[in-house]
Amino acid sequence: MNMKWITLIVMAFLSGPVWAGEARPLADDPAAEARLKHLAVELRCLVCQNQTLADSNAPLAEDLRREVREMIAKNMSDQEIIEFLTARYGDFVLYRPPLKATTTLLWVGPFVLVIIGATVLIITLRRRAGKVVEVPVTEDEHRRVEQLLAEGGKRP
């Protein structure tokens, strides 16, 4: 009786991996798989463009992961693998575009905008500071102010 229950429980736990078909192990070598993961998060899936190669389930992403896995197995360096992909798909495949003549605006643009913004801010603040003029108050005006203040409380 007891044995039966234990067997049943063990079997229930073992059945888990049977239907967990989606997350199948990708390679036998955990080191290679770690390298693939490390590379794949830097690479863009060409089909679903806002997903990395690691996240995407598109058939092309699967093929590219297979290709990268094979290159890892061939002991190619990360540099060589990335060159292989950019030669075919262009810099677009990289999530971090390299600094090149065509990408200078992309890299420098935000800093240029910050500098422009800061300059405009400083100029505006200085100009505003210059606009505040000291207005001397005469003795007469002083008296009138005092008088008005004194009367102020009596008004409804």
């Binding site: 058939p59 092309l60 093929d63 590219l64 290709e67 075919r88 798909y89 262009g90």
Partner: protein, 175 residues
Amino acid sequence: MNRFLLPLSIFIVVVVFLGIGLKLNPREIPSPLVGKAAPDFSQPQLFEPTKVFSPGDMKGKVWLLNFWASWCSGCKTEHPVLMDLAKSGEVPIYGMDYKDQRDEAMTWLSRWGNPYPVVGVDDAGRVGINYGVYGVPETYVIDKQGVIRYKQIGPLDPDTVEKKIIPLVKQLEAQ
């Protein structure tokens, strides 16, 4: 007046940039392969699996390489255009059956017509990767020296064929 001039001009610049951005197609990624030698391959043919199809066979000719598949809906849209182009005899279109089932591909061609003199089979999608294919249909114009001169991403339409493909083919043939 002057107070509004600067914000207005900034607004107009932003609108122009956003307008251009809206017109761009993010699916069209410029190919680094244009101007480079077409990657070599040697794939079994669809109708005669014992024979191979290789770009080397095409040296000295201007030709189109069209990646397609029976499962691809864009290929169906494109198909009449390819048929017309093949009939016109302007340029030979060679097919590459991309990640497809052989029998389904053959059924597809017999049902809709076959514009290709020869179709290669790329069942693993490796030729596709070497050509930077990321969504079929894609079409490459390859010149006499075997250099890729143009890449069409997505279905060819009559307008593109008339205004881009045929003039380019004529120009390449004159070379």
